[in-house]
Amino acid sequence: MAGVGSACLAIALLTALYAVVASVYGARSRRREWISSGRRAIYCVAALSVAAFALLEAAFLRSDFSYALVAEGSSTDTPTFYKVTAVWATQDGSLLLWVTLLSLFSTAVLFVTRRSLRDIAPYATAVLGCIAAFFLLLMVGWENPFDTLAMPPAEGAGLNPLLRHPAMMIHPPMLYTGYVGFSVPFAFAIGALIARRTGADWIRATRRFALIAWTFLGTGIMLGALWSYTELGWGGYWAWDPVENASLMPWLVGTAFLHSIMVQEKRGMLKVWNVSLICATFTLALMGTFLVRSGILDSIHAFGASTIGVQFLVFIGLVIAVSAGLIIFRLPYLRSEARLDSLLSREAFFLLNNLVLVGLCLVILWGTFFPLISEAISGTEASVGPPWFNRLVTPLALVLVLLTGIGPVLAWRRVTPASLRRILVVPLTAMAVALLALLAFTGAAESPASLAMFCFVAFVLAVVSQELWRGTMARRTMTGESWPRALARLTGRNRRRYGGYLVHAGIAVLFLGVAASSAFLDQRDVRLSPGDSFKLNGYDVTYREATAKLGGDSAGTGAPISFGAVLDVRKGGKHFVLRPSRNYYASPDPSLGTISRFFEGEATSEVDVRWGLTRDFWLAVRPDIGSLDGPIREADAKFADSPGDVQALIVAALAERYRSNPPPAAFRAIASPLVVWIWIGGGIAVLGALVAAWPSPEARLRRVRSLYSARVGQELSRA
C-alpha cells in the first residue's frame, strides 16, 4: 500500500499545480468554469492528502515495519495512543499532516466562499495551491513518508521516550492547525491585492479562520509550556528557546492582526498595515515550521542540519518578495478611507496595542536570531539568554496588559472624556484596593514588576466585569428583561465584543500566573536517604521509601524499569504523597552488555506535581544507580548469552536490590505560586475565542435587519 500512498502524493502535487493554473486562467479570462475546476482541484488535493494520511496511520497502527517511517518511530510495544501520534513525530509525517490540514482548511474556506468574493477567490485558490504544492514537493522530492525498506526489521526503534507525553503529542497538530489557519487570510489578502478589491471583504470572509488559527496556535503554545513544566530540566514552562519563540512570534503578530482588521472593517483604515501584518504572520508561521527542522540555531530542540532547510528558506524568501512587491505596487488601492477622529477611541488604542505586540515580536525575533546577527556584525557567534528576554519583554507585557483593560472601556470613533473619567472610577479604585491589599498582606512589593502586573490584572478584571454589568443594565432599560435574560441576550447578540472581553480576562489571569510563579517561586536541590526530610516554603517533606517497578509505569509510556521515591509532604493539617520516578528504557545499542543495556538507554524523569489553586508543589528525583554498577557488570559477564526471561529475572533482582537498600538520591523541589492560573487563564481565553467565533443565528439578524432597514428607508424617502 505504500505505493498507493506515494501515488496519492504525486497526483496531489500535480493537482495542486493545476489548481494554480486553472484558477489564474479562470480569473483572468473571467471564465467561471475554470475557476470552478480550480476550486475542485483543491478539494481533490484534500481528499488525496486525507487518503495518504489514513494509509500512513494504518501502517503505524498495524506496526508495518516495511515502512521506513514506522521502523524508525514506532515498535510493537508502543502504546496505541503513541502509535497514532508517532506519525507526526517524524519529519515526513509532520509534512503530510501540514498538507492535510492545509488542504482541509482550504476546502472549507473555498466551499464557504464559492458564491461570493468572485474576484478574489480564484487568486486565493491559486495561493493556497502554491503553498500545498510546496509542501507536497518537499515530500515527493525529498522526504517521502512512504519510503519502504527492502528488508523490514522485525522490531521498530520505538518512539523516543521523551516524546511519550500526551501534551507533547497533541502539541504539533495544534501548532500546525494554527500555522495553516493563518494561510487562509494570507491567501485572500494576496488575492485581494492582485484583484484590486482591497475593501474589507477579504477580511470578513476570513476573519473566523484567523480567529480559529489564533486559538489553536495559542493552545499549542500552552501545551508546549505544560509539557515543559512537567518534564525535568528546569521545572519551568518557558525558556525562551528558539523553537518556543518561533511559535510565539506568529501568535503575537496574529493577535495584532485580529485587532487591526476590526479597524479596517469599521473605518476603512490601516489597509496597508493589515495586509503587511498578515503577510508577516504567515511568513513567521513558515519560519516557525522551518526553525524546528533546520538546525541553524542552537537550541535544545535543534535537530541538526536537515535535508530541507534550504528549500524552506527559498520558499520563505519567495513569500516575502511577492508580498512586499504586491503591497508596493498596489499602494494606490490601499489608501485609508477615514482619519483618526480622536485619540480616545478604540481605533487609536488598537493601533497602540498593535505597536506593542509588533514590538514584542521584534524583540523576540532579535533575541532568537541574535547568534546569526552577532556573527554577521562582529564575527563571533554570541547568544542572549532568558534574563535578557525577561528584561525587555516584561515592560512591554505590562503595557500590553494595561491596554487590554483600557480597550474595552472605549468606543469606536470617539469617547466623551467626561464619560471616560466616570467609567474609569470603579476599575481604578479596584486597582488601588488591590495595590494596598498586596502591600499590606503579602510580600509582593519585593518584585515591583510583579506588583504592577497584579494591579493591572485587577484593573482588567474590574473593567470586564463592569462592561458586562453596564451592558446588562443598558439592555434592561431598553427591553425591561430580567437579569439573566438580559445578560444572555447581551452577550448573544454581541458575541465578538463580549467574547473578546472574555479573552482579555483570560489573558490577564494568565499573566497573573506568570508574574506570580516567576517572581515568587521557591526551589531546593537536596540529597536524601530514606527517612531524611527537608523544608520548603513551609512544607515538611520526608523521603519515606524507594520504589522499583518493571514494565508498565503509570504514565503509560511502556517503560521497562522505573525507579522512584515516595515522599510525604505535610503543612499544618494538610498531608499529601508525591511519587516522582525515573524511567529507564533499554538501549538498542548492541555494543552494551546484556544487562547494562537496560540501564544505559534513554531515561526520562516522571515528575510528580501536586496542583493547587494557590501553589504547585513540584518534585523530581534522580536515583543514584551508580551503586548498582558493580552488580550490573558482574551480571553482564555471567549472563551474557541468557535468554530474555532470565535477563528479566536478573533485572528484577537488581531493581529489588535498589529498592530495599537505596543510596541517597538527588531531589529537586519547587513550590511555585499560582501556576495553575496560567492554564486556567488560557482556558478562559480559548472559551472567549469560541464565543467570539460562534456564528450568530440568522433569524435574529433578519428581524433586526428589517427593523433597521425600515427606519433607514423612511429617512431615505424623506431625504
Binding site: G233, D298, F303, L392
Partner: protein, 126 residues
C-alpha cells in the same frame, strides 16, 4: 492643532518610540550576550558558553558532582568539565551539549544549572 500637524506629531512620537526600542535592543543584547565557542577555544580568565559533544566513557557521577569531558563537534581535543546542578534527561555520552562557565586550573568549572542537552535527532534521517 490642525489635523495635518497632529498626524505629523504622532508620526514623530511613533518613530521616536521605535528608535528607543531599537537602541535598547542593540545595547542590551550586545552587552548581555555570552559568546558561543568550541571546547578547543576556551582560555582561562573569562566565561564562555561552550558547545560540544560529550566524550564517550568520560561521565562520572560523584555525589552532587558530575564530571565529564567535552570535545569539539568535529575534533578530538577535549576539556574536562566539573558541573553541579540539574542534569537534563537526554544527557548521555556522544550527545551534543551546551554549558556555560570558566576555565580554572585546566578544568572547565560550569555555572550551576547551565547544562543544556540537545534533544536527540527527531527530524533527520538517521
Amino acid at each position: 492643532m490642525d489635523p495635518a500637524r497632529k498626524r505629523k506629531l504622532r508620526l514623530v512620537v511613533a518613530l521616536t518610540a521605535a528608535l528607543l526600542l531599537a537602541t535598547a535592543l542593540i545595547y542590551t543584547s550586545f552587552s548581555a550576550s555570552t559568546e558561543a565557542s568550541k571546547p578547543s577555544e576556551v582560555k582561562p580568565g573569562r566565561s564562555y558558553e561552550v558547545t560540544g559533544k560529550v566524550v564517550k566513557g568520560s561521565i562520572r557521577h560523584t555525589g552532587d558532582d558530575l564530571r565529564f569531558r567535552i570535545r569539539d563537534r568535529d575534533g578530538t581535543d577535549s576539556v574536562p568539565v566539573a558541573y553541579t546542578g540539574v542534569v537534563p534527561d537526554p544527557f548521555r555520552e556522544g550527545r551534543e551539549v551546551i554549558v556555560s562557565g570558566e576555565l580554572k586550573n585546566g578544568t572547565f568549572v560550569a555555572e550551576r544549572d547551565s547544562l543544556v542537552t540537545k534533544c536527540p535527532s527527531k527530524f533527520t534521517k538517521s
